[in-house]
């Protein structure tokens, strides 16, 4: 069904079709509309979800943890400082292996206070043990939502999933979207039947007890194995999604990468802007390409290294500054993937961009490709840690 929706409407629609047992939420810009739309579905009886309006994001995640541990399917949405306030419970959700699904509408983390888009919120919790799926468009946010529960709840995974999309740029822009029927979505997502859960009186368990030197390490190893397993499951679910709905997804999207000499690696909405630039450059005979990472956790290191190995120069764009004096988080992971997979002759450069909602124009992206055209013929990359579109004075 062809529709036009904002990203927030698209996510709320997916949640309506999935009809989870519990949604807990506390409002924060720019994700507020998701629980707002969803609460109307609760109010008019379209869903039979237990909606819990809590008093803070710490309680949001706590409520989701309690619900999932009890054996329910739980969802929420947040942004920016909402993620920050959840911090303690974000780690507990993944450590207790609770397949919660949370939309993170990406917004700069304070301070100073800023309501606009960058990726400092989700990048800040990239090592918290959550699966992270990024979305270029409202369509991808919707499709990622439809796949999220299948990935999270798979018995080999049992990890929470974060669906990320750009605040305002995607969350508040009306664009075309293809929606699927309620029946098809329900059939694809299926019912949640956890093996062990607190409300199962026949098989009592305890969740989250003290876990000291003798066991915590083993439990952390299991989390690590689950994240590795998630790679296989993410691809299996994507293949079934393609068979069911026709749209294709992988760990990342290769755009005109086959013979690309210079390439950009980027997440979320900027990928679309960069595709338009790649098209222009291709018309001029420049062998430019683009990789848009969809799955950042688990990180598809060997697959990225394989698809980047024939490039001469690659720019990795980060909408969050790692503040590590060495390059953004996506940059450090991509370059480490290249090195550990024995790809050593691709020149790589880090660009921090779009911080705090600084608009990213096609001209900004063109500049990166112009830089790459020079870098590809140089023996070393001078100043590999750069900032794009920032005033220097």
């Amino acid at each position: 069904m062809k529709e036009r929706l904002s990203g927030n409407e698209a996510v709320a629609t997916a949640m309506k079709q999935i009809n989870p047992d519990v949604v807990a939420a506390f409002p924060i810009t720019p994700s507020t509309e998701i629980p707002q739309y969803f609460s109307t579905f609760v109010n008019n009886g379209t869903v039979d979800t237990e909606f819990i309006p809590v008093e803070s994001e710490h309680s949001t995640m706590s409520a989701c943890i309690g619900a999932e541990a009890a054996g329910c399917r739980a969802m929420t949405a947040t942004s920016s400082n909402g993620v920050s306030l959840m911090w303690e419970m974000i780690y507990i959700a993944s450590s207790l292996r609770l397949p919660i699904v949370m939309t993170v509408v990406n917004r700069a983390v304070s301070g100073p206070l800023n309501i606009h888009n960058d990726h400092s919120d989700s990048m800040g919790c990239r090592d918290s043990g959550w699966i992270q799926l990024y979305s270029e468009t409202n369509q991808e946010a919707y499709d990622n939502m439809l796949m999220a529960n299948r990935i999270a709840e798979h018995p080999d995974v049992k990890l929470p999933v974060m669906i990320c999309m750009d605040g305002f740029i995607t969350s508040h822009a009306i664009e075309n979207i293809e929606l699927e029927s309620d029946e098809k979505v329900k059939k694809f997502v299926g019912e949640y039947k956890p093996k062990d859960y607190l409300l199962n009186s026949k098989k009592p368990i305890s969740v989250g007890p003290l876990d000291l030197q003798s066991y915590l390490f083993e439990h952390k190893k299991q989390q690590s194995v689950a994240m590795v397993n998630a790679q296989k499951v993410i691809i299996e679910v994507a293949e079934e999604f393609k068979k069911t709905f026709g749209r294709e997804y992988g760990f990342f999207e290769n755009y005109k990468m086959k013979d690309a000499e210079i390439a950009i690696v980027v997440l979320n909405s900027t990928a679309g802007t960069a595709k338009a630039v790649v098209d222009d450059l291709r018309k001029k005979g420049i062998k430019a390409g683009l990789i848009k990472i969809r799955v950042f956790r688990p990180f598809p290191a060997s697959q990225l290294a394989k698809d980047l190995r024939n490039c001469k120069a690659v720019a990795i764009l980060d909408k969050a500054d790692g503040l590590n004096a060495a390059g953004g988080p996506v940059f450090t992971e991509v370059t480490s993937a290249l090195y550990s997979n024995n790809v050593k002759d691709v020149k790589a450069v880090s660009y921090i961009y779009g911080i705090g909602g600084r608009d990213v124009k096609t001209d900004d992206i063109k500049k990166v490709y112009q830089d790459l055209a020079k870098i590809k013929d140089q023996s070393t990359v001078r100043n590999p840690y750069r900032h794009l579109g920032v005033r220097e004075e």
Binding site: R4, I169, I174, T273
Partner: protein, 195 residues
């Protein structure tokens, strides 16, 4: 129509420029176009200058930046002409559509001798006569459809009737006024061709 039409709206918080951009996206979507409608969110307060954008195309649109070289500019409040550079980047063969009662000479002066096409509409008069209150966005929406020719005027009018019936289901008394506002606006746009 060109492959891609880009429109920038200038208004003041509370005048409905954002809503107008979303309604335009809706109307174009209903004729089978690919669309984007999005505001630039700033400090939101009544009366502050705001910007909203539309991209309309026969092909999927991937660019997700603001619009810097629009084909058309819509100015919902002519007091903005004094302090916002509304013609910034406006394409030479494009047009600016202004809600105003000022004449061509005064407008060109206010626009730093801009020599492209100017279209004017007294949206205040139309809105007060038809809707009974000052809601400039409905007549301005009609004006930009007429000027940009993104769709047939009759199809647009029919589409808006359906959309108002849906949007104002709980306030049916305002439907007729809004439709009249569109009909009047489609007739009353004044064109001052480029020099």
């Amino acid at each position: 129509m060109k492959d891609l039409i880009e429109i920038r709206w200038h208004g003041r918080g509370g005048q409905g420029a954002k809503t107008a951009s979303l309604l335009l996206a809706d109307a174009a979507f209903n004729t089978g176009k690919f669309i984007q409608g999005f505001p630039e969110y700033g400090p939101e307060r009544m009366g502050a200058p705001i910007t909203a954008f539309n991209r309309i195309s026969d092909e999927p649109i991937t660019i997700h930046s603001n619009i810097y070289e629009p084909d058309f500019v819509v100015v919902v409040d002519d007091t903005l002409l004094e302090n916002v550079d509304v013609t910034s980047g406006l394409k030479k063969d494009g047009a600016i559509v202004i809600n105003t009662t000022k004449n061509e000479k005064d407008l060109r002066k206010l626009l730093n001798n801009y020599d492209g096409t100017i279209c004017t509409l007294d949206a205040r008069k139309i809105s007060v006569e038809t809707i009974g209150r000052y809601f400039p966005n409905t007549p301005m929406l009609a004006a930009i459809v007429k000027v940009s020719k993104i769709m047939d005027e009759n199809i647009f009018l029919k589409d808006m009737v359906d959309s108002f019936k849906h949007k104002f289901a709980k306030k049916p008394e305002v439907i007729d006024g809004n439709i009249k506002a569109i009909e009047m606006a489609l007739k009353e746009v004044t064109f001052y061709e480029k020099k």
